[in-house]
Each structure stands twice: as structure tokens, then as C-alpha cells.
């Protein structure tokens, strides 16, 4: 009898507070009887019935297809015009400029490309320059910048980061501002647009250079050193211009608000592109009023000051004129993708509905399938 009672105590493991042979209290190793430790937490088990899943497929299909159609129609309504002006062919106006390139030429090479627009462009027209086979996303290239120098830090201005090597110091060992390969390879072609009306008179189209860079880039990330924007020559004392630039950074623009590091063309260039074929915003053609199209139908001329060499790496240069909608630029991919996915979901919903009707009633009555 005594043995069995001793057994019961031992087996159940009730040692809470029981004293061991030494007389000291032995702590119980039994886990707490809490819901967490005993895996009894209240839980919700999702029961997926046909009633919950099937409507979801139909709903998704019914939402996605109109969105896809909207995207596709919007993208189709965006007008885009592209001109390649690299000058590969002998017949191209810019052929001479692309061949006779040298760094030290003082007289810039100009070429002029005529084109015509079949359709008028309404609302704001955005002018992009596009480059191909230009790997702005190369690792060594992306690293080659100093954001604290570009933020206006005075110490970094004269002591650029090591990542900028070999574009860190210029002639006579002066630090380069802005340092790095990204800044050094800044796009410096000048593009001008002229409208040629039927009599032959050319009118220059006004190109706005404000608002092409991200607001936060222009006002927070990029700051000129020193406190005075108007006297940048003094702020940049002690530094030299990047190797492949014609003018130093404080002469990028006559306007103080667009000079130095906060020059918008410079900021746009410094935002490295994701793919080797990319476009960057160059200018904006503001619409005049809602009645007249911004770019009417007709003949135009593009005047290029061909400064930027791309033949050496088989790159291409082009100008793109595009309108913009709520979804951005012209890209039919998203519209087609949404329509496809919406249709697939709808179709799957129909298929599942058929399967459920044919076999669903049967499975409810059968035994458990093994």
C-alpha cells in the first residue's frame, strides 16, 4: 500500500513545494498550466469553403479587368515621339559631329534634325533625353559619389570620399567638387526645339527647366556649400571642376537658384538609372492654355549641341517628347498584365465553379478520402 501511494506521487510528477531528501524545497519542473505553454491559446481556424474562395476569384477578375482596360486605354492615349540623334548613319545630320569628337574642341559641334508631328500634343509635354547601352547601374559607378559633399558639408567639400577615386582630386591635387564618376560623366548636350510653321518661319519653343528633379532632392538632399547661393564662386574656393567638364559647377546656370549642386540637370543626372537603356527628364514644355495644343501638328526642328560622346561604347542618344498621364509615361505593360491576370482569375473562378457543382455535392456525402 505504501509503495503504491509513493508511486502515485512520483509518477504524476507533483513536486510543487515538496521537500527533497536534504530538506530544501525542490522546484517543480512541471510546465506552467498557462494557455500559451499548454498550446491552448484561443485561435481562429480559417475554414475555406467554396463559398468563400470562389467569390474572391470573381471579385478579383471583375476588379482587375476594368483597371487593366483603363490602364491600357490611358497608355494608348499618351503621345510619344522619339528621335535618335546619335549619328550612326552617314545620312544622319549628326554624323559629322559624332565622328569628329575631341575633348578639347572649343567650338561646339551643332547639328539639326528636322521631324514632324502627325498629332498635336495636348497639355504639358515632357522632353526626355534617352541613352542606350550606358550602364549607370554599374556597381563601381553607383558607388562613385559623395552625398555629404553634395549636401553642402564644408568638410566633405575639400575632403571628398575615397569612393570617388579616381575622380577625387584633379589637377594640382585640388579636390574635385562634385567628385565621382557619376558627376564626371554628366550629360551635357544642349537640345533646342523649334517649330517650323508652313511659311518656313522658325519659332523657338519655350523649354522650362524647373521641376524636372525630385522636390526632396533639390531642396534637401542637394545643398550648396556656404550660406550664400549668389556667391558660389567663393563657396567653392579650393576645389576644382570635374575632369570632363567644360565649366566648373558654380557656372552651370546664371540663375542662383539653379546653380551649383542644386542645378536640376545635375540632380537628374545624379539619380542613377536602373537599366542600361534609360531616359531622364530634360525639359518641360508648359501648356499655354486649354484651347491650343502645346505642340500643334506640323514640322519641327531639333537643334543639338553635340557634346556628349557615346560612339566609343556603342551607345545611342535620343530625344523623347511625351505627354504624361496619372499612370506616368507610355507603357502598355501594366494594362496588358492587369487584363491578363483579371481574365485568368475570372476563368479560374468559372472552372472552379463548374468543378464544385459537379463534384462538390458528391464529396460532401462520401466518407473521408484516404
Amino acid at each position: 500500500m505504501m509503495a503504491s501511494s509513493y508511486n502515485a506521487k512520483e509518477e504524476d510528477g507533483h513536486h510543487s513545494g515538496a521537500s527533497g531528501p536534504c530538506g530544501a524545497a525542490v522546484k517543480s519542473k512541471k510546465p506552467d498550466n498557462t494557455a500559451f505553454k499548454q498550446q491552448r491559446l484561443p485561435a481562429w481556424q480559417p475554414i475555406l469553403t467554396a463559398g468563400t474562395v470562389l467569390p474572391a476569384f470573381f471579385v478579383i477578375g471583375l476588379i482587375f479587368i476594368p483597371i487593366g482596360i483603363g490602364l491600357y486605354v490611358t497608355s494608348n492615349n499618351i503621345k510619344e515621339f522619339e528621335i535618335d540623334y546619335t549619328g550612326i548613319d552617314m545620312s544622319s545630320p549628326c554624323f559629322n559631329c559624332s565622328q569628329n569628337f575631341s575633348w578639347n574642341s572649343t567650338r561646339p559641334c551643332k547639328c539639326s534634325l528636322p521631324f514632324s508631328l502627325d498629332q498635336p500634343f495636348e497639355s504639358n509635354v515632357f522632353m526626355y533625353y534617352g541613352l542606350s547601352n550606358f550602364y549607370q547601374n554599374h556597381r563601381r559607378y553607383v558607388k562613385s559619389r559623395d552625398d555629404s559633399q553634395l549636401n553642402g558639408d564644408t568638410f566633405s567639400l575639400t575632403h571628398p570620399s575615397k569612393e570617388c577615386e579616381p575622380y577625387r582630386t584633379g589637377s594640382d591635387n585640388k579636390p574635385i567638387a562634385p567628385c565621382g564618376a557619376i558627376a564626371n560623366s554628366m550629360f551635357n548636350d544642349t537640345l533646342e526645339l523649334y517649330y517650323v510653321d508652313p511659311n518656313g518661319t522658325r519659332t523657338q519653343i519655350e523649354l522650362a527647366k524647373k521641376g524636372i528633379a525630385w522636390w526632396t532632392d533639390k531642396h534637401v538632399k542637394f545643398r550648396n556649400p556656404g550660406s550664400n547661393n549668389s556667391n558660389l564662386t567663393a563657396s567653392f574656393k579650393g576645389t576644382t571642376k570635374p575632369v570632363n567638364w567644360n565649366k566648373p559647377v558654380y557656372e552651370l546656370d546664371s540663375e542662383a537658384e539653379n546653380n551649383g549642386f542644386i542645378n536640376e540637370d545635375f540632380i537628374v543626372w545624379m539619380r542613377t538609372a536602373a537599366l542600361p537603356t534609360f531616359r531622364k527628364l530634360y525639359r518641360i514644355i508648359q501648356r499655354k492654355n486649354s484651347m491650343t495644343p502645346t505642340l500643334p501638328r506640323g514640322n519641327y526642328t531639333l537643334e543639338v549641341t553635340y557634346n556628349y560622346p557615346v560612339r566609343s561604347f556603342e551607345g545611342r542618344k535620343r530625344v523623347i517628347l511625351s505627354t504624361i498621364s496619372w499612370m506616368g509615361g507610355k507603357n502598355p505593360f501594366l494594362g496588358i498584365a492587369y487584363i491578363t491576370v483579371g481574365s485568368v482569375c475570372f476563368f479560374l473562378g468559372v472552372v472552379l465553379l463548374i468543378i464544385h457543382h459537379k463534384y462538390g455535392n458528391r464529396s460532401n456525402n462520401s466518407d473521408i478520402p484516404n
Binding site: G13, Q39, L41, V220, A274, L281, S363, I368
Partner: protein
């Protein structure tokens, strides 16, 4: 007992070999008659069977004995020395198919058997603590074996197997877009994602949900598991870590990685994604891919979770919220003392673009579509199991190999059969 028992008691005059052969042949002929057999053998006989003797036939005795045992639904060995218990276990371990063995005992004489088997369970018995000290798991009573095996064992296996598969899968999804990007960046090893994202993906954004899953998940609740011992067969033979499930997870990871990368790639054929005409750069590209990635792998886990406690809700939605919060925070200020401000305002700017939102939603849904379909097509099985716990599994035609089931269930369901 409705099975025949064949005693294996040794008589000095008969030779063990011929007796074994005769028994085995008898059982073979009777086995097709759909009967169950039990086998009783004592320690002395066993020593003749298992220990090698100068007799040329001795090696056959062991294999014959093994075959007899495999054809019986229950084998009772009594009066065995501790070493013989271990020998039996070793014999079964090395038999064809290499089954996983479990031995349970409460005394010091069970220790060698407990050590020999794959899983050794010790019972805190009246014979002291030796068995417990040498065991992998210790239980106070034999009846606890049922819950240990059917509930905890089953759940533990499912959780661990899912954890392992999920870890490989989420890292495959993570790295494949980065690998594919190399084809577009001149093979220069430019990372697609920002350094902060690379560092924090595995630890901060995707670790807590799977941790909660592997601690709390009950794909079938404990009560149902206890009532239906047959459910244990779902995880037999390492079912969730075989080639089939592994290939499925891998293909899913590859599919999603390809989808993330190329979905955003075709969106970026025109990188002017904002309504003010401004252009996105490479960090925005990487951030879009990363956002889709984090949401997809977390929502995949949400789809796999069948037992939602408050902890699961907290970690899953919390991880996603933490990702968004961190992205705003990381890109929210110009960090002093850092030479690079790569991600400044990138995340917020990405969210201001309708196209970016649309592509994120599309890619998340498309990535999860295979899983949702699988969930729907597999639905009838688990649904029926949840609904009808009291399955009449004991009846129906049984194959001889499956004859172990009724005995298993009888042992576990009848408390009075417990030893202690």
C-alpha cells in the same frame, strides 16, 4: 485477442532453424487468409536465434525470425536480458526499409534498448530514474505516450519541416531578383536592394512570422489528432521533406523571384512613373521589388497558417507594418555621419506613384495565385477531416501490412492496457 499466437518456446530436442522455417511458411500461407498473428518468444530461445553459433544455418535464423516478426501484428518477447532488447531493436532498425524505431521503458534493464532505438522514451517509474536519464524524452506515465506521439510528435514534425522549407524558399525569392539584375548591370555585382534592406530582410522583416508559426501552428487541432491515430501516417517516412515537397517549394521560389524581377523590369521600360513626369532610379526599382518580396513571403506564410492565435496576427501584420515604418524612417532624414544617402525619400516617392502601387498589388496577387489554387484544390481533404473527427477507421478491408493499425488504436484508446 482475435489473432492467433504462435509460441516460440524452445524445446531442447527440436532445432531452432527448422522450427523457424516451419513457422514462417505456415504464417505465409495463413497471411493471405486475412488473419492477424501474434508471436511470443522468451529470452532463452531468443539467445539461440540471435547469437551466432558454429552451425552453418545460424545466420538464417535471424533473418527468418525477422520475417516472422514482420508478418505478425504483435510480437511479445519476455524474460529478455537488457542486451537482447537492444539486439531486437537493432535488428528492426537494420531491416529492409530502415524503419524509425521508438522504444519505451521504465527500468534500468530498458536502458540499452532506449539508447539503441532512434527515439527513446523513459517513464519515471518505480524502478528508478535510469531509464529517464538515458532517454530522449521522459514521461511520467505510459498513457502520455499517446499525446506525445500523436499530437506533439505530429505537430513538431509539421512545424519543423515547414520552417526548413520556408527558410530556403524565402531566401530563394530574395536572392533570385538580385542575381537576375546582374544580367542588366554589366555583371558588376551591383546590389538590387539597399544595404539596410539586405541586412534586415532575414532577421527583422521575415523571421518573426515563421518563428510564431513554428511554435504555435496546429494544422489539425490537438483534439482531432488524438482521436484519429491514422492522421499520424501523413507525416510517416519524412513525408514533408521528400523530393516532392522540396521541388515544389523551390519551383515556387524561382517562379516568384522571376515574377518580381521581370514584372518590375517591364514596368521600368519607361521609368517615368510619376504624374509629374519625373523619373525613377535604380534604388526605386530595388525598393519596389523588395516591397513585393516582403509582402509576398509574409502573406504566403499567412496562407499556410491554419491556426491563428493573437500572436500570429501580431507578428504577421506587425512585421509588415514594421517594414513600412522602417522604410519611411530610413528614408526620412539625411543621416549624419553617413557618406551615402541612397534611399533618401525613395520609399515615400515610390508610394506617390499610382503605377508603383498597381504593380505591387498585381505581383503580390500573381505570386500567391499558385498557393491559393492549391489551397482550393486540396480543400476537400482537410475540410472533411476537420468536420468528421469520429472516423470509423477500424473497420473496412485491411491489408496484412496495415494490420498494425487496429492494435495501435486499441492500445491507445484503452486506458486499462497501460502498464503502470
Amino acid at each position: 485477442m482475435d489473432s492467433n499466437s504462435v509460441p516460440g518456446h524452445h524445446t531442447p530436442t527440436a532445432s531452432p532453424g527448422s522450427y523457424c522455417t516451419h513457422t514462417f511458411l505456415s504464417i505465409q500461407s495463413w497471411a493471405t487468409a486475412n488473419q492477424e498473428y501474434g508471436f511470443i518468444i522468451d529470452g532463452a530461445t531468443l539467445s539461440l536465434v540471435l547469437n551466432p553459433s558454429p552451425d552453418a544455418n545460424s545466420s538464417r535464423y535471424k533473418s527468418l525470425f525477422l520475417q516472422i516478426c514482420q508478418n505478425c501484428c504483435a510480437v511479445l518477447c519476455c524474460r529478455m536480458a537488457p542486451l537482447q532488447k537492444a539486439q531486437i531493436v537493432r535488428m528492426v532498425k537494420n531491416s529492409k526499409g530502415s524503419p524509425i524505431t521508438l522504444s519505451i521503458g521504465d527500468g534500468a534493464n530498458d536502458v540499452s534498448m532506449i539508447l539503441e532505438a532512434h527515439v527513446g522514451i523513459g517513464i519515471k517509474g518505480k524502478e528508478g530514474r535510469q531509464a529517464v536519464r538515458n532517454s530522449d524524452y521522459a514521461i511520467p506515465k505510459l498513457k502520455h505516450l499517446k499525446k506525445l506521439l500523436l499530437a506533439h510528435g505530429h505537430l513538431y514534425y509539421v512545424r519543423i519541416a515547414h520552417l526548413v522549407q520556408y527558410f530556403f524558399y524565402k531566401n530563394l525569392c530574395f536572392i533570385l531578383p538580385q542575381f537576375l539584375y546582374q544580367f542588366f548591370c554589366g555583371y558588376s555585382q551591383q546590389p538590387l536592394y539597399d544595404a539596410a534592406y539586405l541586412t534586415m530582410y532575414n532577421i527583422c522583416f521575415t523571421s518573426m512570422p515563421i518563428l510564431a508559426y513554428s511554435l504555435l501552428e496546429q494544422h489539425i487541432c490537438i483534439e482531432v489528432l488524438m482521436d484519429n491515430a491514422t492522421l499520424y501516417r501523413e507525416v510517416a517516412k519524412n513525408a514533408m521533406l521528400r523530393w516532392g515537397p522540396f521541388v515544389y517549394w523551390t519551383i515556387l521560389g524561382v517562379f516568384q523571384g522571376l515574377l518580381f524581377f521581370f514584372g518590375v523590369r517591364y514596368l521600368f521600360s519607361n521609368p517615368a512613373l510619376q504624374d509629374n513626369g519625373q523619373v525613377f532610379g535604380n534604388w526605386s526599382y530595388g525598393t519596389i521589388v523588395f516591397t513585393v518580396l516582403v509582402f509576398t513571403v509574409t502573406l504566403k506564410l499567412a496562407l499556410d497558417t491554419r491556426h491563428w492565435t493573437w500572436i500570429n496576427h501580431f507578428v504577421i501584420w506587425g512585421s509588415l507594418a514594421f517594414y513600412v515604418f522602417f522604410s519611411f524612417f530610413w528614408g526620412g532624414i539625411i543621416w549624419p555621419f553617413l557618406r551615402q544617402q541612397r534611399l533618401y525619400f525613395v520609399f515615400a516617392n515610390m508610394l506617390s506613384s499610382v503605377s508603383a502601387w498597381l504593380v505591387i498589388i498585381l505581383l503580390i496577387l500573381l505570386s500567391l495565385l499558385p498557393d491559393i489554387l492549391l489551397l482550393v484544390f486540396r480543400k476537400p481533404k482537410s475540410h472533411a477531416q476537420q468536420k468528421k473527427p469520429r472516423s470509423p477507421a477500424a473497420g473496412g478491408p485491411q491489408s496484412p501490412q496495415a494490420s498494425a493499425r487496429p492494435l495501435l488504436m486499441r492500445t491507445f484508446s484503452d486506458e486499462s492496457n497501460t502498464v503502470i
